[in-house]
Amino acid sequence: MNKYLERLVNGIFKENPIFVLMLGMCPTLAVTKSAMNGIGMGLSTAVVLIASNAIIAALRKFIPEKVRIPYFIVVVASMVTIVELLLKAYLRDVYDALGIYIPLIVVNCIIFGRVEAYAAKNSVGVSLFDGIGMGLGFTVALVLIGSFRELLGAGTIFNIRVMPESFEPISIFVQPPGAFLVLALLTALQNKFKLSSATNGTVKKSALACGGDCAHCSVEKFASFHSNVAGSSDKKESVRKED
């Protein structure tokens, strides 16, 4: 039971497909105009991922090495078609909102990546939970980004008016440039929080008080840490070593 739970947590937090692995950018940018769309896309992708993971993990022993890519493609494409038809029949407004991005789940890097990296090598149970974890992680990320964009771009979350009436929606957030901008800010935030983590151990770390980041040092910063700014202007010109 523990390893299943671990897969779940891994997919949502440690290896979140959007925030950490940076896969599946196309649907992220395209459908996060509103939080509702985000949930729709996230759950559809999750269903496809779970089903594909399960099937491929079950049949992994019977796939010859050379034809595994077309094999994966066909399985995933079939699952996507099934989901598409189900959405068309039972959840028509979700189908209309997501439009062309439903068939494009086939070429979503997340699905392909997980299938190749995990389902092809592990048992059905663990792959199933890996699919659930990744799918949920994807959905959570989409909902977060979608809510953010919807809130600032239309003043609503899940179509419920949240911002006060006087709020002038910043409509660029629900349009393509806004999508790029929100993702840029999110990745920058990520980088900021990851900055405190150490790099690999064999690299020497600076022992100096200034931090040793000379590339971003300025004359004033240098002078405040090291009291050795050469002042003499009549220093003899040395011959520089030429090539």
Binding site: L208, C210, G212, C214, A215, V219, N228, K236, R240, D243
Partner: protein
């Protein structure tokens, strides 16, 4: 008994309802189309791969397998593919790859039929230790943070010493093995990761990096040819050319030419006498 009968009849009712609604004709057509398409594609690609097969030199393929595959360019060829081709054709010797270990060289030599003598493992070393707390700056530099560009501009970045490492990291960018980094304003080589491919040596515009034998532990970490008192105005740890090391060495391995000490690694025994003799502590002894 009655409940089981009821369940059974319910089941058959549902089953026949489902059967009636399913149009087997459609399923057959769909399956047929997809299967035929799959067959056509499979046959097409299979035939195409037969017709468009390229004859690959067996030896070249084996050699390519043995090469490390980092495509660093240290051999002088355009990547590992080109190097494998050259070795297979005889244009390059079996130990053309500086990154591969001696065992790999022997394997490659076996493929082409021959042998290769052992070459000594080398690592890169940056001949400058003027970190920002030891060396002085004499200008505020606002240009592009690239060593080659800064070298073209003149003034050696913001460093006072015109021979010293500027620390903008052009060498870091070309290293394919993550073996060189800028620490405290100068480039430092990670001896364990360095494969002596030589890319950083070629890249440094001030020619500060040289390949030294791995077994060498004593290095003069300075490249300045300035006279002693000029060195002292710009750096507290630069070589002043005092020749105390040359006098201390019993093996005639250190010589001071043009105000700079240099160690002859063929003669050096790592005894450390010069390290003790040096007044500015510019001769370093590596610990491992």
């Amino acid at each position: 008994m009655l409940t089981i009968n009821l369940i059974a009849s319910d089941f058959t009712a549902v089953y026949s309802a489902v059967l009636a609604s399913v149009n087997f004709n459609d399923i057959a057509v769909a399956t047929g189309v997809v299967s035929i398409l799959g067959l056509v594609i499979g046959l097409f690609l299979g035939l195409a791969s037969r017709k468009l097969e390229i004859v690959v030199d067996e030896k070249e393929a084996k050699i390519r397998e043995l090469l490390p595959g980092a495509n660093c360019g240290g051999c002088g060829y355009a990547g590992c593919d080109a190097c494998a081709k050259a070795i297979a054709e005889g244009a390059a010797s079996a130990n053309a790859c500086p990154v591969a270990s001696h065992e790999v060289h022997m394997e490659i030599a076996k493929v082409i039929g021959g042998s290769v003598e052992a070459t000594e493992k080398k690592v890169a070393f940056v001949n400058c230790t003027g970190t920002c707390d030891k060396s002085k700056i004499n200008s505020a530099y606002y240009g592009p943070k690239d060593c080659k560009l800064a070298a073209g501009i003149g003034g050696n970045g913001s460093k006072g010493c015109s021979y010293g490492c500027m620390g903008f990291g052009s060498c870091v960018k070309v290293c394919a093995f993550d073996a060189i980094h800028i620490v405290d304003g100068i480039a430092v080589v990670d001896r364990e990761k360095c494969t002596s491919c030589g890319m950083c040596v070629a890249e440094c515009p001030l020619n500060l990096i040289e390949l030294v034998p791995y077994r060498a532990k004593t290095m003069v970490a300075c490249s300045s040819h300035d006279k002693g008192k000029d060195v002292k105005t710009v750096c507290t740890i630069g070589c002043i050319g005092c020749k105390l090391c040359e006098k201390a060495c019993e093996y005639d391995a250190v010589h001071v030419n043009d105000n700079l000490a240099k160690i002859d690694y063929d003669k050096c025994t790592n005894c450390g006498a010069c390290v003790k003799a040096c007044p500015v502590k510019v001769i370093r002894q590596q610990s491992a």
